[in-house]
Symmetry: C2
Subunit: 402 residues, 2 copies
Amino acid sequence: MKAVGLVTEYNPFHNGHIYHIQQAKKITGADVVVVVMSGNFVQRGEPALFDKWTRAKAALENGVDLVVELPTFFAVQPSHLFAEGAVKLLSALGVHDMVFGSEHADIDFLELANQAPSVEQGRGVQDKNQTFASAYAAELEARTGFKLTDPNDILAFSYAKAVIKLGVEMKLHPIQRVAAGYHDQTVVTGQKIASASSIRLALHKGKLEKIQDVVPAATLQALDDGTHTINFEERFWPLLKYRLMTDTVGQLGQVYQMAEGLEHRLTAIALGEPGPKSYQSFIKSIKSKRYTFARMQRTLFYTLLNVKVDQMQAAMKDPYLRILGFTDDGQKYLNEIKKTVSLPLISKVDQNLAKANLRLDYKAGKLWQMLANHSEQQDVTRKPIYIKNNEPRVSREMIPGD
Amino acid sequence: MKAVGLVTEYNPFHNGHIYHIQQAKKITGADVVVVVMSGNFVQRGEPALFDKWTRAKAALENGVDLVVELPTFFAVQPSHLFAEGAVKLLSALGVHDMVFGSEHADIDFLELANQAPSVEQGRGVQDKNQTFASAYAAELEARTGFKLTDPNDILAFSYAKAVIKLGVEMKLHPIQRVAAGYHDQTVVTGQKIASASSIRLALHKGKLEKIQDVVPAATLQALDDGTHTINFEERFWPLLKYRLMTDTVGQLGQVYQMAEGLEHRLTAIALGEPGPKSYQSFIKSIKSKRYTFARMQRTLFYTLLNVKVDQMQAAMKDPYLRILGFTDDGQKYLNEIKKTVSLPLISKVDQNLAKANLRLDYKAGKLWQMLANHSEQQDVTRKPIYIKNNEPRVSREMIPGD
């Protein structure tokens, strides 16, 4: 069976994702769609709107055949580590074709990556008032003429860099990013596709009617069930404040990606008087020119989860394939590859795994439960979701902007 | 000026405390009443019902002249360390007479302490299904014939042991514990005195009318203000669960008084499925025959505050006299002793002190604020309370059971 691989967050799963799945099969002629999906926390360091099981189920009901979790230590990372983890997992799953959205689908990203400066060359040109990403992009433009600024282009470029670095056999198929840009903040009435961030914003504002046309039934159903993290900050902030209040700066300094004495600033600002009233005002007051909002959120996530540098380094060396769900075809595909798969396949997590390799995902799941006030456990005793092969619920091909 | 010293928690301040103050002056003929009071957390490892300022003010309005905080590292401790800290502070303040309640006021506690077994002798006879306190009491009874079981007797005995150990000049004046025993759970209608625990229980049940006759106006006023920790467990439990969820057992194992692998049990029970629903059910499930409820609560308090053994040992070696408030007479007394006082007198806490010596009290104050949802900071920039000399608000002498 031929598989096509997608790297996703599905936060939440929407009609644009259905289009992505359909295009991926069409372009590659694949029999099965294999998805690597962030778990309970997404790349920006935020809890996902719905838990990983809810999002995996929505995907399996809408054309995906196999969902594997991108472990926390790969998922909540800057794009180069996120991409490297995702490519590693897809490759281990026997996938040799990836389809992803890009603002410049005409670009050969592998070629671009081959001409790109190294990380060290990027650091060499970074000045004090600049993020690494913008310094690197400037250097890349100077060498190749290509302006790497759009978020999907950056991911596409990162996939290409990862493919080269890992030396895996992987064809990259960018498809044109359409209708709704990543940063679009508005769900346009009458359109069938909207960006995930515009959907989250509509939900945050309580405008459920806005999203009815742009997400499939599975996502509407999950909203009806009422367990999600739309207002996660109300719970995130007291816990983070508690952590910053009780840990010493020495302990905080060991947290993954806590750099350049940031722990002193975090503590001073969080415990200052009268102190920030909310997570939003806290994060605004600690943002600097050298770090993006996402980078800062990831650091705060690792602070909250109390993940130290050494734990993170050990975890990243020991990845695995945690199966969240499959269809009949997905199961057939798993049977076909299971003798050649190059990473451990995990379909059930017991207390031992939760204390060892999967400790980070387990903790992240527990934290997600707290933030969402969700009673259903995320790991121990959970079995992969099984969905009978079925036609995607949206019967005709999604046409962007239709 | 002659001073008499009292060791208190005032949780909350009630009519029995007024009787105690009046008797102390009467018995000793002292000019001023000097009080050492637990700060925002009390000996049992619980947050005080009202913050330290509210309780100090109630005391100063009802006959006390000077209130000094018993630092967290002495206050939240088993009785021998609690007593040692309190005696050390009173002695440093030039106090040579202590008055305290006891179930056996006829006993000479210094003589009893002189005949008592050592801690090592107590440990030698402790078996696996016994707390240290009951093993020690049995050994004491075998040697002296005195049954040390009542809570105020235990404290009285601990003061005597501390006086001997520290080699300070201190007369001990036990007064008969009357009307309401420490463990009495009911506020009796028509009586003017009730135990602090019965008052807390009445408040917990929302029966404010029950306590109107047994506390002075200052405590009723504090209740009206609405900031207290009557239902602290609702906030304590999620934070504790979060801590147990995110710290490794290695980190938890370093917490003060975490003994005999208790950290493994705490983690396993807190994170088990479905897991305890409340702090009460959690603490019930971890209690063992070797540890009292209070000991367990203290360990959980130090877990929540993230206080490690080494931090605690360093803090205990470096005590100080934090002044919470005084009357005119209290101020006069302070002026009289300030040249001879043998520990640092602290009347204002700045950020530097909050990061150094007073770090534990500062953290405890911040935690108290979280548990009580209280906006008023507890340490930095607070000044001692000043109350003009005034007659106690209760004009005639309190007569127990009156």
